[in-house]
Amino acid sequence: MSEVIATNQTILVVGGGISGMTAALEAAECGKQVLLVEKNPTVGGRVSQLYKYFPKLCHPKCGLEINLRRMKANRNLRLMTLTEVTAVEGEAGNYSVTLKTSPRYVNDNCTACGACADAVEAEFDDEHNYGLMKRKGAWLPFNQAYPFRYVLDPRIIGTPDADKAKAACKYDAIDLDMQEEETTITVGAIVWATGWRPYDAGKIQPYGYDRFDNVITSVELERMMDPHGPTGGKILRPSDGKEAKDVAFIQCAGSRDKNHLKHCSRICCMASLKQATYLPEQYGEDYKGTIYYIDIRAIDRLDDFYQNIQKDPNIKFVKSKVASITEDKETGNPVLHGVDTEGYHRYSNPHDLVVLAIGMEPSVPADGFPMEVVINEEGFVELDEKNGAFFAAGCSSDALDVNRAVQSGTASALRAIQVVNRVAGAEG
């Protein structure tokens, strides 16, 4: 790998999701030196796993496309993928950061022709599709991956598959001798944008995510809608592959709950309302959606979106946090049990499929930061003077939608720019 040059006027951005990319681009476009590190083989983060964006219902692909174009065009921005921060020392304006880069086993000769993937036999759970389908041991994370290069899974190294991949590549792009590398750099400020992960649905015991096939999560539904995804763009029941036309959404699954995540994840009400529009998209008029909720949090301009969904006669709202789910063994239908708040009626409602509007958990555990930072009880990084020049962006700072994650990325870039400007001023 080429040598990484960074100085105390460099801004380090950790995490290449929408907020990290934004922060990195804003700073680089202001003429600052920026190093963006991403632990996955590609940038894009969670938005690359979404089918459509609320509120406009556009495809995240074009937003991503614009950002990638900005990245390619900018000479101040350097990207390191498969890289994580292992240690940070020092203070605002002068941090020494240790980076660990895992081998990709594919160099930049790669044209993404895919011959290696064809040659390799081993298959693994596809992370991009939350394990709903398999991918090869040599793979391209998704069709907009950047860098647009294949990756070899470390689990095939040392097996005949690795040699097959190497032999298949006509461009001499596969280098099986690549090693893990450690780099130490100096930077002036750090933007932390490692985002979120879906809360572990199996922990919500009464909902039986780990016991019932037809209980899935909202992030999995997004993947089902992708034409290249596990179901070829259809909403199919995992138990029998039948179309799911009667879909229930359970709000606050793992959020606003002292047994799980204490915070409101903020986006899941909107995510379910958005996903309610996927039903007519699939089935015309022949569908039923039921949203079980405590209260719908569609604030400001998003209220319009909510009101439009309310007008849909095929979508029903039930004000109730579902107490438990059982399974009808004969049909495979999940049956939702609870008591509603508008009249206190007890219900036991069967549906074809249940989607848990799963909460957003900050990606980095409170005790896993490479330096001491102030973290609130929900696990998000606080904006605090004690953090020096360590600024959180996007879902590392709070549960945010894309719009707010981008705003937060820009804000963090500005904070970081002020620090490196101060350093530059002091050094004349």
């Binding site: 606003r256 709950d257 799980h260 946090k321 107490a323 609870g338 008591v339 206190y344």
Partner: protein, 207 residues
């Protein structure tokens, strides 16, 4: 209706939530309920409640004092703790239910024919007499709780259990004559009396 009840009505006129906060065990928590419904949906006895816990919490806020205090609902609670385990707000629902039941009884508003309330009284009277539960007497008073005819029927139905208990020496007919007791019955009763006085004083101070 008791004087005590009248006194409380006057004291908290129109603010039952305050009354509950001051007089009911864990009553402070009531305002934390966000009306999600998980407690009501998780209760194994749920369908038998006139007003499930979620509704009770709303009724408290809506000043439905008489409706709640004379209701049989909170007497349905069997202390399974399902609701406490699942309440996303951490309300000690079980304790609040028992607190409400106790308060209703103290005010003289508890439903007269409610079996849980009746049995609780039988149990208490039985236990405090000797410091030991007299299984035979308790069993019989339970059978005959709803009248003589019912009692004979239940006794016959439970005959085999009774005989089994006799055989394994879990129960003896001698219990009919006073029964076994703890070492210092007088001391126990003095202690209970003192506890009652302390409780009265505490209520007086709070109420």
């Amino acid at each position: 209706m008791s004087d005590y009840n009248q006194q409380m009505i006057e004291k908290y006129r129109g603010n039952f939530l305050k009354e509950v906060e001051a007089n009911v065990e864990e009553g402070d928590w009531v305002k934390m309920c966000m009306q999600c419904g998980v407690c009501s949906g998780s209760c194994p006895l749920g369908p038998h409640w006139e007003h499930p816990p979620q509704e009770i919490f709303m009724m408290i806020r809506a000043n439905k004092r008489e409706d709640i205090l004379s209701s049989s609902s909170m007497w349905m609670c069997t202390s399974c703790y399902n609701c406490i385990a699942r309440c996303p707000r951490g309300l000690p629902i079980t304790h609040i239910m028992h607190g409400l039941a106790t308060y209703a009884k103290r005010l003289g508003l508890a439903p007269k024919e409610q079996p849980t309330a009746k049995f609780a009284q039988l149990f208490w009277d039985n236990l405090t007499k000797t410091g030991r539960v007299n299984e035979l007497k308790l069993g019989l008073s339970l059978y005959f709780m709803n009248g003589f005819g019912e009692g004979i029927k239940t006794a016959l139905k439970m005959k085999d259990v009774g005989l089994g208990m006799l055989k394994t020496k879990r129960m003896t007919p001698m219990e009919m004559l006073g029964g076994h007791k703890c070492k210092d019955v007088k001391g126990l009763q003095a202690m209970l009396k003192k506890a009652e006085e302390l409780e009265e004083a505490r209520i007086g101070k709070r109420g």
